[in-house]
């Protein structure tokens, strides 16, 4: 695979400007994890509309009879998927594969990806955001809780790193 990536400082400057553009135009930063919650809400609404309405957490996505998917962050996430696709395409990095370290099997990696995803989805709702919606956005606003959140993300990952070294190294 082509692993020649752009210099991270340059990416950081561009990402900072994108974030600034978002603040300048919308008065808010970027984010994505709420999209997955909205997708879950839309799924429940499709299968069991009454239950979706009865759930006090999902109900807020449907206030005024709107579709839970008609939201700013959902469109941002769609855009991010397209942007990622375009970048991977021009760098010749589109490839069906299971990304993992050399000493872990495919099925173990997929189970861990599922576990990590479920945990992240839950955690992002609890913290009201993820690494973009809380850490990037909130830290840029100098929001107190977001800085604490960001430190905790790194603390949690560093504390776990040793136990899962076989997955990555």
């Amino acid at each position: 695979m082509n692993e020649r990536y752009t210099n991270p400082y340059l990416i950081g400057v561009i990402l900072g400007l994108i974030l600034l553009f978002s603040f300048y135009t919308m008065g808010r930063g970027v984010g994505s994890s709420a999209s997955f919650s909205r997708i879950a809400a839309a799924g429940v609404k499709l299968v069991a509309p009454d239950q979706a309405k009865a759930n006090i957490y999902f109900a807020k996505y449907m206030r005024g009879g709107k579709s839970p998917l008609l939201a700013w962050l959902v469109f941002l996430t769609l855009g991010a998927a397209l942007g990622g696709l375009f970048s991977a395409f021009i760098a010749n990095r589109i490839k069906g594969e299971v990304a993992r370290g050399p000493s872990i099997g495919v099925s173990a990696r997929l189970w861990l990806a599922l576990a990590g995803g479920v945990l992240s989805g839950f955690a992002a709702r609890l913290a009201r955001g993820c690494t973009s919606g809380q850490a990037l956005t909130g830290a840029s606003e100098l929001a107190f809780g977001s800085w604490i959140f960001m430190l905790c993300v790194f603390a949690g990952a560093y504390a776990t790193a040793y136990f899962f070294r076989k997955e990555w190294l």
Binding site: G116, A124, I148
Partner: protein, 268 residues
């Protein structure tokens, strides 16, 4: 004057198109940085590649400086920017859990989208996992809503907590960033793989670091919190407070489950 949307420059439908555009560039640069690759993302936790720290911290510093300079030039009204409210306990626990999920799963929410787009099956599984995790959260929400709204401090910012103006905070963040980058480079040299790490000229790095510190220092001296720089009739800080505290009054005042309402929790 920004934020343009809050001043009625365009409507909701246009804001959604703008979201897709911002998202496109967001996803594009994440993939450019290699963040569709979980081994690249998790390498920071094994001290081999600090791209995650460099990208995040650079972006944060650029945006902090940009917002404060924009407000000094009168280009943006910071009192109309949505400040994320602090709920300290759920943020601490959620942050720790997200960190664990990041390490086990190999992605954070946005990077998993990029990974999915570039064809990684583990990225697809992680993304589906997040939908499922959000569903679990919504199902158990009645049980944990007390904790979810605990530690509410309103829309507090570091300047409010530390009681120093945001210019000085910005300067301190610049210093912290330069220090963190320096340590990251040192550590990478020791543990990292020289073939995959990006090369960069030491001169550009030095110039960048000097520029950051200089821009921070200017902010620290001129103090962007002074009401002179706020074009609105009310000083910045007080409007921020009223705008943010007002909607959360029902939450703080009446924690009874029947009246519980989530106000403006768009989060990430």
């Amino acid at each position: 004057m920004g934020p343009l949307y809050k001043f009625g420059w365009f409507d909701f439908a246009y804001s959604l198109q703008l979201a897709a555009l911002i998202g496109f560039f967001f996803g594009f640069v994440l993939e450019r940085a290699g963040f569709g690759n979980p081994r690249k993302l998790t390498a920071i936790f094994y001290l081999r590649d600090f791209a995650v720290l460099k990208v995040m911290f650079t972006a944060i510093v650029v945006c902090i400086l940009g917002l404060l300079y924009f407000s000094i030039f009168g280009w943006i009204d910071l009192s109309r920017v949505h400040i994320l409210p602090t709920y300290i306990w759920p943020q601490i626990v959620g942050g720790l859990l997200l960190g664990v999920g990041f390490l086990i799963g190999g992605y954070c929410p946005t990077t998993s989208v990029v990974a999915t787009a570039s064809g990684k099956l583990d990225g697809v599984i992680f993304t589906l996992g997040m939908v499922f995790g959000s569903l679990i959260f919504a199902l158990v929400f009645p049980l944990i809503q007390g904790f979810y709204s605990s530690g509410h401090m309103g829309a507090v910012r570091l300047p409010d907590i530390l009681k120093i103006n945001s210019g000085i905070i910005a300067f301190l963040v610049c210093l912290m960033a330069v220090g963190a980058f320096w340590m990251a480079e040192k550590t990478e040299k020791k543990f990292g793989n020289k073939e995959t790490l990006p090369v960069g000229s030491a001169n550009i790095k030095r110039t960048g670091a000097t520029l950051l510190i200089l821009l921070g220092l200017i902010l620290a001296v001129i103090n962007p919190d002074r009401p002179v720089f706020s074009k609105s009739s009310v000083p910045v800080i007080s409007t921020e407070e009223t705008e943010q505290v007002e909607p959360s009054v029902p939450k703080a005042g009446a924690p009874s489950p029947n009246q519980f309402k989530i106000v403006d929790d768009e989060g990430c």
